[in-house]
């Protein structure tokens, strides 16, 4: 194939443009992944905090129950 014919297909500008577009998408994808990770960790944190709170409430309720059942009325 002649050099002139090949030269017709040179399109460096187009390649740079596509490269920049690809890089932009890559950056956006990376930001999206970071966002997902942060969102996931936040959800886990909220779940753990709620679970801890519920556990504390349960423990308090249980300790009250133990106090009353250990000393039934009329025993002392």
């Amino acid at each position: 194939m002649s050099a002139g014919n090949i030269a017709r297909h040179r399109n460096y500008g187009d390649i740079i443009e596509r490269h920049e577009r690809d890089q932009k998408w890559k950056r956006m994808f990376r930001v999206f992944i970071y966002f997902l990770i942060v969102a996931f960790l936040s959800i886990i944190l909220v779940i753990v905090v709620r679970w801890e709170k519920r556990k504390q409430v349960k423990a308090v309720a249980q300790s009250n129950l133990v106090t009353y059942s250990a000393f039934p009325p009329g025993l002392l």
Binding site: M1, A3, I6, H9, R10, Y12, I15, I16, D22, Q23
Partner: protein, 188 residues
């Protein structure tokens, strides 16, 4: 290619990693060769232009992953191009094409032997058509692109001994077919 030239190219790559505009020099240098390499495997100008663009785009996108292995940068471009061609044929599920220009074969023949006539060149082209793809790939890189076995192995993702074996097998067939005594790499 000398060690110094290879190092110079790697410096250009390092520059291009920081500023993609610097990739232009490498693009200008290798575009024709990569285009011809792909064209011989597709025989379609527009398709070749697409695959060639994709090759350079992939190279530019993955420039950060590129590492020095003592091979010329062109080997990396050829490897990406070979992968693009393979991907195209896998996707289209069509038969692979190998287009070898008669003129190029004559040129090669004239370098080594003077007694090659039109008829023999035609027979040789016929013989090449019958060769399996993997042998043609190696022969193409060895004789049309003038690559050494280390580069061929890297481009086709095979071992160096595998590349040598394929070449010698193809040449053995050629010897038997044409009843020739070809001297190649010290072997007769």
């Amino acid at each position: 290619m000398t060690e110094v030239e290879i190092r110079e190219e790697y410096q250009l790559v390092e520059l291009a990693k920081k500023n993609s505009k610097a990739f232009g020099t490498l693009y200008e240098k290798y575009f024709d060769r990569i285009f011809n390499y792909i064209y011989r495997q597709t025989d379609d100008e527009d398709l070749t232009a697409d695959l060639c663009s994709q090759t350079f785009l992939n190279a530019l996108n993955n420039l950060n992953r590129f590492e020095f292995r003592g091979l010329p940068l062109s080997a990396w471009f050829y490897r990406i191009a070979a992968n693009e061609v393979n991907k195209h044929y896998r996707k289209k599920k069509t038969d692979r094409v190998f287009s070898i220009e008669e003129v190029r074969v004559k040129e090669l023949m004239d370098q080594g032997h003077e007694g090659w006539d039109e008829e023999l060149v035609k027979q040789l082209l016929g013989f090449l058509k019958e060769l399996p793809t993997e042998m043609l790939e190696v022969l193409e890189l060895r004789f049309f692109e003038d690559k050494d076995f280390k580069e061929i192995a890297f481009i086709l993702d095979i071992t160096e001994s595998g590349a040598k074996m394929r070449t010698y097998r193809a040449l053995d067939r050629l010897r038997k077919q044409f009843n020739l005594s070809i001297k190649y790499d010290g072997k007769k």
